[in-house]
Amino acid sequence: MNFIHPQFSLALPEMILLGMISIILIADLFISDKGRVVTYLMTQATLVLAAIATAAVMGADVALSFNGHFIIDPLASLTKLFIYLVSMVAFAYSRSYLIERDMYRGEYFVLGLTAVLGMMVLASAHSLLTLYLGLELLSLSLYAMVGLRRDSSQAAEAAMKYFVLGAMASAMLLYGMSMIYGATGTLNLWEIRDAVAEGSGHSLVLIFGLVFLMVGVAFKLGAAPFHMWVPDVYHGAPTSVTLFLSSAPKLAAFVLMIRLLVDALPALASAWSDMLVIIAVLSIVLGNVIAIAQLNIKRMLAYSGISHIGFLLLGVLSATPEGYAAAFYYAIVYAIMSLGGFAMVLVMSRQGFEADELSDYAGLNERSPIIALMMLFIMFSMAGVPPLLGFWAKLAVIQAIVAVEYYQLAVLAVLFSVVGAFYYLRVIRIIYFDKPTERRELKPANDLKVIFIANAMLVLLLGLFPESLMNLCQSAFIY
């Protein structure tokens, strides 16, 4: 058997992460509760190291390794860098929340890091096998994180639902992969692409495989009608986990979709584009409409997330490089906004008080004008009010579908962002115009407050100067 020595250096970031996870796991056993900050700092340091390594192996060229199962291209590297950044912010947000709830343990960080590792594998995957490997690594870590508070029935229920439905979705994804493999005889994405282009392989089998793949991807993204888990899990999980769950993994799921649809099956673009139209429309409509009826801010943000995923899909379904860039931009923007959105809940909460009901925000402006203003930025950005970041993301995807002449879809998207504006503005109304129900001074931890303000200001600044991030996203899709 002819064994080609793989180019290990390309996978340096993943290897660093794996090594550090092992070290932290062992080290944490010897760290007392008081010294837990060491674990936290090691976690953040790991992500910094990984970022340095990723920047080092990053190049303009596309490089393959591990017999074609592993790829380094601009999309993979950029996604990884953003995943590190988002994860670091998410861990930083979590710290005080975890301390207050007696969850400040090594497991949280180790599970978080394995999820990051899963996302990294996913981002660099170049075969169906590595895609599935990365996805499962990510998913299993997340199931555990959702259920980290074993004594909370709400969290346990959420974890159970997430696990069962996630397993179903994984099964379907795997089934779809097997059909693609059966039709083309290969696992490698480019070989699949070439085989489909040549016309070998049964087209009906390919379509069936595609439908199953689509279900799996849509589930991971949380797109309707495979979104049912999203509100329950976001609601039931500890807020710090929700925050993590709603941000970085969306980036990974986006890459999963790009790898499967754009890298492997571009020949079926007309088919998956049609499916995505249905899924996108359902997501935008259901997400925005049901969000209106929510009184719990975590559930409201969950439905809002579903509608944002619908918008993101608009960019992908246009099946143009500009569209993919717009969707990538949307995914990053959504991750930033989602961090800010759930951080609102973290900022408001304290020991024994989750602050996840809308009424808890009444008259916040009188208690802390600066935090109220930052929340205003984030809500306006999610609603897509210029000049904030969210506006440019919506504009980019709508431009992408207008460019391919999906005018009705563009009109629908705009109309439902008007509907969506209603519930975002309602939060602002509650913050600014309702009478506060409690007068207690708001005292979030300093690091939490600083990062939150930086997060919201980023939404404003990147909105005022949208060029650089947009250009970065476009650079990932120049083939």
């Binding site: 069962v164 179903m168 069936f208 009608p225 495979f226 049912m228």
Partner: protein
């Protein structure tokens, strides 16, 4: 002296604007003296520079100035600009506007001196009203200059609307008086009707010429001479007729031509200085100026010219009748203004644009004079405007008396006075016109001469001669008004006497307006008259032998008999012909017609649209309806989220099947 004409023209328009801004925005800092000083300085600078330009263009033979100073926007290749076209027509208007404006500014110092009495004690609107008044009239001067100096239709429209706005503000200056509010709203609404036509006319120009620049449009006008358009499907109109009539509808509103004249008499609710400036001398002549300016287009449509002539003739004659029955001194002058505007319009219709502008100029001087004189009488009478309470004021107000007599003589066209030359020219020009309707117009303007003389001298005799009918208290306080009031009267009386004699040769028959006003050969009635013109003095001598002179003399004589000698006759006539008297008192029922049909009609329509369109359809169905239905849908859909795992799994399977179904079907 000024090499840079761009800065010069800019300075002319901006000086009054600066004065207005200072007086208006810094009224507390400047105080009353400061406010009238800055505004008078601004207008004086404009007058001085306008006179310089007049000299430059008329006597030094300078070239016409046509330049754009600012491009507002470029859309679809069409430039929207601020620019100035200063030729002899413009410069004449500039001198008239700034001169009358300066006179009115000075006069206002005296007229508004105790304006505080016109406001309720603690009225906030009455604060700094003196400064505000000066700010407004300077703003008006700026707007009027923008209008006459425009080199494109857009800026013309800007000036047109800006003078309308200031007119609105000034008619309702005493905003605590209900009648003033009614009058300014009326003026505003009636002008809306006219401006709608005007705007459509400009739109038509833009649509067919792809430019709003005067020069471009006029140069290309002949290309569109034979274009027909179907506004209402099935009936084709000449494009030029359509554009000209639409533009003229604007002029009908602004220059108060029948049937859009109804706002002008009510505008007398405003303080007298602005009645003189805006509603006699300048703004109301904007329509006349506009038609003369756009003469290259009007010359291409005989239908439009006929229309203009007939409208003008109706206004000239029938508004004169109304002047006969008025007792308010200002209203008599107001109806006189309407009638004289009719004369100018008739001149335009007869293609005697030069005569129309000539009359515009002479009228500006003598009518401003008459208004200011009326104002002087009103000051002396302690703001009593009823002529039945006057009489014999001659000996109390000598300067006002003399200047009023001069103004009245100029108005009726006594030979030698300014009005004689311009009015005689119009009458003779109409007599020469061959257009349909010129016969009617000729009869109307001739009859109008008699009526004009009758109402003018009725007023003159009632005010200055005869028995003193005022109460003892008023009589005791009667004395001549201060110099700031009488000085403008004297300064306006001079041109009212001499300007016709000096200018008739050059303005009406010379080449003064060459290049500004175009007249088609077949319409050129003034050229026919010019062939028999042997100088101004000969014209006076000739005038003594013509019908207008004898009609005017008869009018004066009749007025003398009716109001000085046999004073019982008017009452007897009013009784015997009471239906006619009532008709005149009710102003031909035009007010009730407008209020009844248009006023109530549009209120009814608006109410209906509000109830049905706004409250029910937009608010009820669309805004609240969609919000409610979205809310309802949301409340239903949220129950799908049952919390049961098997429901969720089932939904996923349904979704999967749905996607399959989509591809299989």
């Amino acid at each position: 002296m000024f090499s840079d004409m761009e800065n010069l023209t800019l300075a002319i328009v901006l000086a009054p604007l600066l004065g207005s801004a200072l007086a208006g925005l810094m009224s507390d800092t400047l105080g009353r003296k400061g406010a009238h000083r800055v505004t008078i300085t601004g207008v004086a600078v404009s007058l001085f520079l306008s006179l310089y330009l007049f000299n430059h263009l008329v006597f030094a033979g300078g070239a016409t100035i046509n330049q754009s100073v600012y491009t507002w926007l470029v859309s679809d290749g069409i430039r929207f600009e601020v620019g100035f076209l200063v030729d002899r027509l413009t410069v004449l208007m500039m001198v008239v506007v700034t001169f009358v404006s300066l006179m009115v500014h000075i006069y206002t110092i005296g007229y508004m001196a105790d304006d505080a009495h016109n406001w309720p004690q603690e009225s906030l609107a009455g604060r700094n009203s003196y400064q505000r008044f000066f700010s407004y009239i300077s703003l008006f001067t700026f707007s009027m200059l923008m209008l006459v100096m425009a080199n494109n239709f857009l800026q013309l429209f800007f000036g047109w609307e800006a003078v309308g706005l200031v007119s609105y503000l000034l008619i309702g200056f005493w905003s605590v008086r209900e009648s003033a509010i009614y009058a300014n709203l009326k003026a505003f609404l009636v002008n809306r009707v006219g401006d709608f036509g005007f705007l459509l006319g400009i739109a038509a120009v833009l649509m067919y010429f792809n430019s709003l620049d005067y020069v471009t449009v006029f140069e290309n006008a002949h290309l569109h001479k034979d274009v027909m358009v179907e506004v209402i499907p099935g009936s084709a109109w000449s494009l030029m007729t359509l554009i000209c009539i639409l533009l003229f509808i604007g002029a009908m509103g602004k220059s108060a031509q029948f049937p859009l004249h109804i706002w002008l008499p009510d505008s007398m609710e405003g303080p007298t200085p602005i009645s003189a400036l805006i509603h006699a001398a300048t703004m109301v002549t904007a329509g006349i100026f506009m038609v003369a300016r756009v003469s290259p287009l009007y010359e291409l449509s005989e239908t439009a010219l006929s229309f203009i002539m007939v409208i003008g003739a109706i206004t000239a004659l029938f508004m004169g009748f109304l002047g006969l029955v008025q007792n308010d001194i200002k209203r008599v002058v107001a109806y006189s203004t309407l009638s004289q505007l009719g004369y100018m319009t008739v001149a335009l219709g007869a293609s005697a644009y030069a005569a129309g502008i000539f009359h515009l100029m002479t009228h500006a001087f003598f009518k401003a004079l008459l208004f200011l004189a009326a104002g002087s009488v009103i000051i002396a009478m302690h703001h009593d405007q009823d002529m039945r309470n006057m009489g014999g004021l001659r000996k109390y107000l000598p300067i006002t008396w003399i200047t009023s007599l001069i103004g009245s003589l100029a108005l009726i066209g006594a030979p030698g006075f300014a009005g004689f030359f311009s009015k005689d020219l119009i009458i003779e020009a109409v007599g020469q016109s061959q257009l349909p309707g010129s016969g009617f117009a000729y009869a109307a303007v001739l009859a109008g001469v008699f009526i004009t003389a009758l109402y003018s001298f009725r007023m003159y005799f009632l005010v200055f001669h005869g028995k003193e009918r005022m109460d003892e208290h008023t009589r005791h306080h009667l004395h001549e008004t201060p110099w700031v009031v009488t000085l403008p009267l004297i300064l306006l009386a001079i041109p009212s006497v001499v300007i016709g004699y000096l200018m008739v040769d050059e303005l009406a028959f010379g080449s003064f307006f060459a290049g500004s006003i175009e007249v088609a050969k077949s319409h050129d009635v003034l050229a026919v008259l010019g062939a028999n013109f042997y100088g101004a003095f000969a014209m006076i001598l000739h005038g003594l032998l013509t019908a207008p002179f004898w009609l005017a003399a008869a009018g004066v004589a009749t007025a003398y008999v009716l109001y000085m000698r046999a004073t019982w006759i008017p009452a007897m006539l009013a009784e015997r012909f009471s239906w006619l008297h009532q008709l005149l008192l009710n102003k031909y029922h035009m007010d009730s017609l407008a209020a009844g049909i248009f006023g109530s009609g549009s209120r009814w329509l608006g109410m209906g649209l509000w109830r049905f369109g706004d409250t029910m359809v937009i608010d009820g169905w669309m805004v609240n309806g969609s919000a409610r239905s979205v809310g309802w849908v949301a409340s239903v859909l949220r129950h799908i989220q049952s919390g049961y795992l098997f429901h969720y799994a089932f939904t996923m399977i349904l979704g999967l099947l749905g996607l399959f179904l989509y591809f299989i079907v």
